[in-house]
């Protein structure tokens, strides 16, 4: 396992560092400009009432007449760039084996080593889960670096931030699990990435449409963002146990399915 981990770390340290730095910078910028956004948002909501629905969907909480400071804090965790970076890291790491290895033909060298496919999968899983924590911690560091410049009422309390981060990590696990499952079925990384992003986009759209259309509301539970509501967590505190359980459950089931498929499938590079 140590040799496999060394090989995997050689490959993922740079992308992980880049995603982490990206998240750090984005969080710093968002933290820095949050007061300005808060100020401007009142006017935008007054002029464009439709934007309120969009914000409700994004923040995972019903907004009152005025957007509260607590709801505003959730922007740091639902901004599309933040979500895109976290998802992209999960998808990048979780489509490596077998899709990327088959795609570039290196799977032959990897599987010629005396390791089972399950061991390879386990190694990828460890690296994915640990590096996900690192990326999220770098994001938190970005926020903490810029936080002293925020007004007190906009600055989230650390325990509540950690609760939201746990929820975001559960999203990361669910997305990664889905990516591992799709990758196990695929011989081409591009195709696997495309399928996962299509699933995420569909999930996002479902979440959006469910606010306007009753039939979509019936199946809204299928969307990943249905289980990620940072505004509620920041406002009320309390661990979002149900949401985290569902997301980890999705991640676990798809991870198990991906592992079984990888262990049983034929591997061809031609």
């Amino acid at each position: 396992m140590r040799g496999l981990l060394t090989k995997t770390l050689y490959e993922i340290w740079l992308p992980t560092l880049l995603y982490g730095l990206g998240l750090l910078v984005v969080k710093m910028i968002l933290t820095y400009i949050l007061p300005q956004i808060h100020e401007a948002l009142g006017e935008v909501l007054h002029r464009l009432p439709f934007a309120k629905t969009f914000l409700t969907i994004l923040l995972g909480n019903t907004l009152g007449a005025e957007i509260s400071a607590r709801s505003m804090q959730a922007f740091l965790y639902v901004h599309p760039v933040v979500l895109a970076l976290v998802w992209a890291h999960a998808v990048t790491l979780c489509t490596r084996v077998p899709a990327a290895e088959i795609d570039r033909g290196t799977i032959d060298v990897l599987l010629s080593l005396p390791v089972s496919r399950r061991a390879v999968y386990a190694c990828e899983t460890i690296v994915w889960l640990v590096s996900g924590v690192l990326v999220l911690v770098m994001g938190l560091a970005g926020h903490l670096i810029a936080a002293p410049r925020m007004p007190d009422e906009l600055r989230p309390e650390l325990p509540r931030i950690l609760l939201v981060m746990a929820n975001l990590y559960a999203v990361y696990v669910a997305v990664g699990g889905i990516a591992l499952f799709v990758s196990a079925l695929s011989d081409h990384r591009g195709r696997a990435v495309g399928v996962v992003f299509a699933i995420l986009l569909a999930s996002f759209l479902l979440n959006f449409i469910a606010n306007f259309w009753e039939p979509a509301r019936q199946i809204a539970f299928l969307g990943i963002l249905e289980y990620y509501r940072p505004a509620q967590t920041l406002q009320h505190g309390g661990f979002p146990l149900r949401d985290v359980t569902v997301l980890i459950g999705v991640g676990l089931v798809t991870w198990l399915a991906g592992g079984e498929i990888l262990a049983r499938r034929s591997i061809t590079t031609v």
Partner: protein
């Protein structure tokens, strides 16, 4: 005991048979050549042996272990060089030996350095800067460094210059004489002819021959040129059944000899001949016939 044994080993890709009911047995210390044209089924057979592919039918074993179920255990004692070798761009020989050594639980640095010296490979050069031949050398070092009991090489000389091909051939002979087994796939007769003890030929997924090179040589036809004293003698001579006349040029008759040379020599002694030329066994033609899908009988 057979190091490699397959029984009715088959792999189907949709409606096409990649390998069809192959029965192969490779003994310890043998250099076994696996010959076939491109797409004949050589790589499919190798991928089945290494547990990359699940057989559609039949079974393959290495060291008596099932190639699909016990793949990881088998590979402790197997070195493999893929036909279309692709390596990680960040890899150097040093890193490769460190990683492969850790996975195998062995210190491969000394053995790897010795091989790198033998194959003239810079150990700190990254794959992204390597030529195809240099990458092939690194692949060989990764496959050989742990001195495996069985070495599976899929077209190993592709990309290597003739000098390196010679170095590899002598290294493989050394391995075989030390009791290691080599399973060697190729589409080039020459390298198999100079290296292997036994050869199997695969065509359209079927193993159509599995014989020692000596047996193949005895089956291969020889070209014979008979020079008679005059044209009348050449025309009037009654040809024995082991000689097949290809064409005549005045007093010269060009034939193909089937079987050993002794009966020809005895027959020629009684003919009004001024000269006889017998070529070595023509394996090239024999293998061309093996490869030619339009010919059903060889």
């Amino acid at each position: 005991m057979s190091i490699i044994a397959t029984q009715q080993l088959s792999k189907r890709y949709g409606r096409r048979m990649g390998l069809d009911a192959a029965d192969l047995h490779v003994g310890e210390g043998e250099i076994f050549g696996f010959l076939g044209a491109n797409g004949a089924g050589k790589t499919t057979a190798i991928r089945l042996l290494l547990g990359f592919l699940r057989p559609s039918h039949g079974r393959a074993t290495i060291f008596g272990l099932d190639c699909w179920r016990d793949s990881a255990r088998i590979k402790r004692d197997v070195g493999y060089l893929p036909g279309d070798l692709r390596l990680y761009p960040w890899l150097t020989a040093q890193r490769a030996l460190r990683i492969v050594g850790r996975v195998r639980g062995l210190d491969l640095r000394a053995a790897g350095a010795e091989l790198a010296k033998r194959f003239q490979l810079e150990t700190d050069l990254r794959v992204r800067r390597m030529s195809r031949g240099t990458r092939q050398k690194l692949g060989l070092i990764m496959a050989l460094a742990h001195k495996p009991r069985l070495l599976v090489l899929d077209e190993p000389t592709s990309g290597l210059d003739p000098v390196m091909q010679g170095i590899l051939a002598s290294y493989l002979r050394e391995l075989a004489s030390a009791g290691h087994t080599v399973f060697f796939s190729s589409h080039t007769l020459r390298e198999v002819e100079t290296l292997c003890d036994r050869v199997a030929v695969v065509r359209q997924g079927r193993v159509i021959a599995d014989e020692t090179l000596q047996a193949l040589r005895s089956r291969a036809r020889r070209t014979v040129e008979l020079v008679f004293a005059d044209e009348a003698a050449a025309t009037g001579a009654a040809m024995p059944e082991f000689l097949h006349v290809r064409h005549r040029e005045g007093h010269r008759v060009h034939c193909e000899l089937e079987g050993p040379a002794a009966p020809l020599v005895r027959w020629a002694a009684q003919q009004p001949l001024t000269d006889v030329t017998i070529s070595p066994p023509d394996l090239e033609t024999l293998f061309r016939k093996f490869y030619d899908v339009s010919l059903d009988e060889v």
